[in-house]
């Protein structure tokens, strides 16, 4: 008798738990359904159509044609190439500089708290601020960079010839954007590496020193290999960042000159918002979404493995 009562009470509690579980999830599921799940079906669907994105009557089914066009579209190929260059340079520099700064801050010398805060400030700033600042920095006539090259010191060093339109020249536009982007986000990598370095005890460094390993050898043989969890995070976030980079490019060059700084995200925005090619733009969206989801899956699997280890 008592057991049935108890089992009944237990079942009641289980039902309550299941119902409350879904109730707690209801708001996020409604929002995700409205903006993400519906959006996903919609984007995949119209990526098979030719459509201006305005009048639903004008949709014309064209199968895989958008994707075929994409593979031969110089704008898209250039955007992938740019994103790849952006990714490799950004990640390489950020790993080296981020780790270097984290190492320099570790001994907690004079002003280390000030420096840490200072390097992180650009992360907390709007890209609009960063873009406007660098726009003035690169400005061809009175910009800081060209003024430096034209100054007596610049003349003395023979750098005057370097003064030119940094964002207007196709050969330097992408590099200029990459530099601004690294300036903005280096503080984030620094924080990752500071966190990563806390897993290495001072004893490890001491032991390496007793063994006669110098600074660089310690760095290469001890510190670098044991930071692989952090490296992985930085690399995957760098990949996601390269795929979705939009605001800094849009604010500085809008993808130009020509397609010199075209990115998948800027091409997507141009196709949909400026050229009224919603169907074609959607095929770019689909490519970006697939890449981001795959990268997230790798990151999640990696974190899972780390937690189990």
């Amino acid at each position: 008798m008592t057991t049935t009562v108890r089992r009944g009470a237990f079942r009641q509690l289980r039902t309550k738990e299941i119902l409350w579980g879904y109730a707690f999830l209801l708001p996020i599921l409604v929002l995700l359904g409205l903006f993400v799940v519906y959006g996903l079906f919609f984007v995949v669907k119209i990526s098979f159509y030719k459509w201006d994105g305005v009048d639903p009557e004008t949709m014309v089914f064209r199968g895989l044609r958008n994707y075929q066009l994409l593979l031969t579209d110089p704008t898209f190929l250039m955007s992938i190439l740019n994103a790849f260059v952006f990714l490799v340079v950004t990640v390489a520099v950020q790993m080296l500089v981020g780790l270097l700064v984290a190492l320099l801050l570790r001994p907690k010398l004079w002003g280390h708290r000030f420096f840490k805060a200072l390097f992180y400030i650009p992360v907390a700033l709007s890209t609009t601020v960063i873009a406007t600042t660098f726009s003035a920095f690169y400005e061809p006539n009175f910009g800081v960079l060209n003024s430096l090259f034209r100054s007596p010191v610049g003349q003395f060093l023979g750098l005057t010839g370097w003064a030119h339109s940094w964002l207007g020249d196709p050969s330097t536009a992408l590099g200029s954007i990459i530099f601004a982007n690294i300036f903005q986000w280096m503080g984030a990598q620094m924080v990752f590496y500071i966190a990563g370095l806390t897993t290495i005890s001072d004893d490890v460094f001491e032991a390496a020193q007793i063994d006669g390993a110098g600074f660089w050898a310690t760095l290469r043989r001890v510190v670098w290999p044991s930071l692989w969890p952090t490296h992985t995070t930085v690399i995957i976030l760098g990949m996601v960042g390269a795929i979705k980079t939009f605001d800094i490019v849009w604010l500085l060059t809008q993808g130009g000159p020509g397609n010199a700084t075209q990115f998948p995200a800027t091409m997507l925005y141009q196709s949909v918002a400026q050229n009224f090619q919603a169907g074609y733009g959607a095929s770019v969206s689909v490519v970006m979404i697939v890449l981001c989801v795959v990268l997230s899956a790798i990151q999640i699997a990696f974190n899972q493995k780390k937690r189990e280890a």
């Binding site: 409350w20 707690f24 994105g53 320099l104 010398l109 709007s126 890209t127 849009w250």
Partner: protein, 265 residues
């Protein structure tokens, strides 16, 4: 490498730090300096009195950011609690699906978002400025909060149930207050992300009176009021104060959120 740092090593490290520090300090201070060029503080006065709707845009920025933070917390905290402490069919699959959407840019859904917001009649309204962007930030908040709830254990839930309390009471009265450190992280990083967001107002605000500050800077540079770079610089300084201020004031309370907050970029 560290404890037995030689004097030479210390001087070297200090020199490199100061060099990098100058590299970072100069461009940042330069914006402040330029905002006072020419007319001094009058640049700021001009910005507020020229007829450019800057006050409205500051108000919009605060309203949109605060509402986004409230929506994110109201949606993320209960779901993170459910993912962490409750058992129901499909829980892990739903959590995985939500995490997978984390890195997708809102820009990818530009056409369906326009269609949905138009159908709802929300275009160029605060609802359009708040709900989609908050939705796209919520998965990060769920991740941060669930990790924190995971570290708390199930005992407090069982204790609440012994006293006759339900799941809602356990979340609202026990777990939400205890999760304050993680909640503060979410509030700070969601606020900064929303305050700084350029894409959101670019997509969903149509008129000047609905724009937030990142669009204000662009609108100002192209308008009759602010062609002068000093005035634009003044606007940048005003825009930077809240986000940098919040970060500097609360930096000691920000732990893992600093890394998780960077995920969303």
């Amino acid at each position: 490498m560290f404890r037995s740092l030689s004097l030479g090593g210390k001087i070297f490290i200090q020199a490199v730090l100061i060099f990098l520090g100058i590299l970072y300090l100069v461009p940042l201070l330069n914006v402040v300096y330029r905002s006072f060029l020419g007319a001094g503080a009058s640049n700021y006065v001009y910005l507020f009195t020229s007829g450019f709707p800057i006050l409205r845009m500051i108000f919009n920025s605060f309203l949109v950011s605060i509402l986004q933070v409230l929506v994110i917390l109201a949606v993320a905290s209960p779901s993170a609690f459910a993912f962490s402490k409750m058992n129901f069919p499909g829980r892990d699959a739903i959590y995985l699906a939500i995490l997978l959407t984390m890195s997708i840019s809102m820009l990818c859904f530009i056409t369906p978002l326009f269609q949905t917001l138009k159908a709802l009649g929300w275009m160029n309204t605060y609802l359009a400025m708040v709900l989609p962007a908050a939705t796209f930030w919520t998965p990060v908040a769920i991740l941060i909060l669930k990790n924190y709830f995971d570290s708390l254990g199930r005992e407090m839930l069982e204790a609440t149930q012994m006293e006759g309390g339900g799941f809602f009471t356990a979340w609202w009265k026990v777990y939400l207050p205890v999760s304050r450190p993680a909640t503060v992280n979410v509030i700070v990083f969601a606020f900064i992300a929303s305050w700084n967001d350029y894409l959101n107002p670019l997509l969903f605000s149509r008129t000047d009176d609905m724009k937030t500050l990142p669009m204000a800077v662009v609108a100002l540079s192209n308008s009759i009021y602010g062609a002068r770079p000093e005035v634009v610089a003044a606007c940048l300084v005003i825009m930077a104060l809240p986000s940098v201020g919040v970060y500097l004031l609360l930096q000691d309370f920000l732990g893992e959120g600093m890394t998780a907050g960077s995920v969303k970029g």
